[in-house]
Amino acid sequence: MSALAASGTAPGGTTGTVRAWGTARLLAGTGSRRRVDLARHRSVHAPLRSYDAAGLAEAAEAVRLLGRGGAAFPVAVKLRSVAPGPRAQVLVNGSEGEPASGKDRALLRLVPHLVLDGAVLVARALGTGRVTVAVSDAEAHASLDAALHERPDRGSFRLQRHDHGFVGGEVRALARAVSGGPALPPGRRVLPTVQGVDGDPTFASNAETFAQLALLAELGPAAYASVGCAEEPGTTLVTLLGDVPHAGVVEVPTGLPLRALLGEGTGPVLVGGYHGTWLADPSDLVLSRPALRAAGVSLGAAVLARLPHDTCALGEASAVAHWLASESAGQCGPCVFGLPALAAGLDDLARGGDAVACLRSRAAPLPGRGACAHPDGAARFVASALEVLAATGELEVHRRQGQCGRPLRYTLPVVAR
């Protein structure tokens, strides 16, 4: 376990740090990136109060807690959708298949007990003792494994390491995989709350959601909501990368202006990660899932990236589009054929082609035409990239010169971990 003590390495492929700005809640006790073992965890956090399912849903509703995996689904609604009882299951999704994101790995590496406490809290509320924790990062797995060895309630947990890729971390694909099936999203609309792990009613959510629930149970709704903005109180984890003052994972109160996180750069900004939205100027937006959604933007995996001026922006978008195409599970025709077509179209534009209209018409019909939201996210990424790169003149430079003269620096990481 000596590797854990030196967990100063940056999460994933991103270079950067893990820190809290303002109130450290999730990251309380981590100091200079120190892993919080059980003894330290118990000295930092008060013991768990017990909640029944209705009480926990009520508390989650009071603080408008939204899932932290990308879909930002209201936690209270999800809690109420799971039939309580010994058959119920809890699934902690720590997959984080997005190469640009490091927040869940940071959380699981540094404060595994907070996530596990949240899972126990939900399991108790639902009257079950069946919790599965699924993770793909090796260090996060080691941290959780060590944490479980410390815990008297480890009998409730099943820890699984997987390497199912981006789409395999989609919650319904993951529920199938941990039940012994293929790591593929099912073709028919089944909700994990009804039919999840082993076909049982399952409360499944992102790792950070469980950590937030543990904090909510510890603090109570009023204290929990004492920081952050009214529409989504509390703190949130964000991964910052590219031309930003402090690259890395940060815990920040919600409601901050995005420019406070992104700094004074002028390059295009990607909000939400590889299923996210490109913006030429995000300066009037604030860090709040409801506020961003109202502006037509999803915070997604909570990645905020600003491209520096010394990289080929079109090349960056193209590299991610190729990665998205390569991560297709290969099940659904529109995704299998559509995503490579989008990536090839971006390559064509980079070489001086003029296929913008064609590319838009390929992206437009993708949403809603797959077993999961992968084609939707890829279409959003490419369509918004086209819009922003046209507005910044990037496309015109490539059309005239067949290049922009800048190298592709891979500010947006695409190499699988």
């Binding site: 025709g333 529109p334 054929f337 559509g338 390929r362 035409r369 077993a371």
Partner: protein, 72 residues
């Protein structure tokens, strides 16, 4: 009622677009694009029969006419 496609089954045979052109077209790769998935039993009464025919004709049973669920 609602037109639903199981995309994991659909192979782009394209029969559905021939049998229900009012609602289904094909993309450049031959996969269906549903214009409007809703089928109102009254307003779209004349489409219910061809919709069911299209579903029955799908060689891989990817197309279905489903009852609308509250949260679908």
């Amino acid at each position: 009622m609602r037109l639903e496609i199981d995309w994991t089954r659909c192979d782009g045979h394209g029969l559905c677009a021939r049998l229900l052109p009012e609602r289904i077209s094909l993309d450049p790769d031959g996969f269906p694009v549903i214009g409007d998935a809703r089928l109102d039993p009254v307003a779209d009464a004349e489409l219910l029969r061809p919709a069911r025919a299209a579903a029955a004709a799908c060689p891989v049973l990817a197309l279905r006419v489903e009852r609308t669920r509250p949260h679908a």
